[in-house]
């Protein structure tokens, strides 16, 4: 069974996760934004994706350390080129999985 304490924990976690997801949608979507903010937000996705991807590929461990030779990174290079060439999301996912699986077999 689920204890009240645990339920409260999940509710608290849910609330602090939900509010930052909701506030900008509520506050920004119904009005036209100043041009500089729109331009800034236009750059945010490329920035976030890069900030998510590169540390995941180039660092590992706790505390994190630079690892310039690992399967995640080696596989990412041909996968990135494949995505640039084909612009196919499904194809990139499949090729990525296949190469990662292969790299695990070959490189260990």
């Amino acid at each position: 069974m689920i204890s009240t304490d645990y339920l409260l924990l999940c509710l608290g976690m849910g609330l602090v996760t939900y509010v930052p997801r909701w506030v900008p949608l509520f506050a920004l979507s119904q009005r036209s934004l100043p041009r500089w903010l729109e331009e800034w937000l236009d750059l945010i996705p490329a920035a976030i994706l890069s900030a998510l991807i590169l540390p995941a590929l180039l660092t590992s461990g706790e505390p994190r350390q630079l690892t310039l030779w690992n399967n995640d990174l080696i596989v990412a290079i041909p996968v990135f080129l494949f995505a640039l060439r084909t612009r196919s999301l499904g194809g990139t996912v499949i090729v990525g999985m296949a190469l990662y699986w292969l790299a695990g077999k070959v490189l260990g």
């Binding site: 608290g12 997801r21 979507s29």
Partner: protein
């Protein structure tokens, strides 16, 4: 509906192994499948759930776990801000439902799709909730019997990385986006090595987008390419 479900498959594929792994871990920390499902349904944020279970195992209190969750998930503030540009005119209650499903993955996928013809908030909402259903189910399944399923099968661990790489390619529309991505990536790597936790994601993104904005203002793109901002709108 169907377009949304079809578009969501790379995320679903990526969520299954992570969800199962989370379920196994949570079960080892003493949570029942029901408890795991409740957390996944109420929180729906993978990395913070992993951290919460680890903290629970270490005997941390509710307040510190909630505070950590807040810090870890604050990055969604930026993602929702970028998505809001495409959600003008959508009813408040739908926005409230949409917000629940904003994750790194749904954000990146929906944002790329919004730039294409024929993508709207209903399809985006479907993506958010289909992926949520897969997340809740796979985490609970992991707690039930995830240890029976072989880990790391068929390179499935790479599904989300593959998706992110392609979605990044979609975002590199002009030179300024490439430059912003390079700044963000370099800053994120440097910051991630210096500070623990994941605050580097927000810090590096804000830094890079701000630098990009200044660069775009200082050296506007040549006449051949479009001025970036307008392309954000449908």
């Amino acid at each position: 509906m169907r377009d949304g479900i079809r578009a969501a498959w790379p995320i679903c594929l990526g969520y299954v192994p992570i969800g199962l792994a989370f379920g196994v871990l949570a079960q080892k920390a003493g949570l029942t499948p029901l408890a795991v499902g409740v957390m996944s349904a109420l929180v729906f944020a993978g990395s913070s759930q992993f951290i919460a279970v680890a903290m629970l195992g270490a005997g941390a209190g509710t307040a510190s776990i909630v505070a950590t969750t807040f810090a870890v998930n604050l990055r969604h503030l930026l993602m929702s801000s970028a998505l809001s540009v495409f959600l003008g005119g959508v009813r408040k209650r739908w926005l409230a439902l949409f917000a629940y499903g904003v994750t790194d993955e749904s954000f990146a996928l929906n944002l790329a799709r919004f730039r294409e013809e024929g993508w709207d908030w209903r399809r985006a909402l479907t993506v958010n909730h289909v992926t949520n259903a897969v997340w809740v189910t796979s985490t609970a399944a992991g707690a039930l019997g995830g240890a029976l399923i072989p880990a790391h099968a068929f390179g499935i661990d790479y599904a989300l990385m593959g998706m992110f790489l392609c979605l990044l390619v979609y975002q590199l529309r002009e030179r300024i986006h490439v430059l912003t991505a390079l700044i963000a990536g370099a800053a994120a790597v440097a910051m991630s090595l210096m500070i623990p936790g994941n605050s580097y994601i927000v810090a590096a993104s804000v830094l890079a987008a701000t630098a990009g904005l200044f660069i775009r203002r200082r050296w506007p793109a040549p006449a051949s390419s479009t001025t970036g901002a307008g392309t954000g709108r449908r």
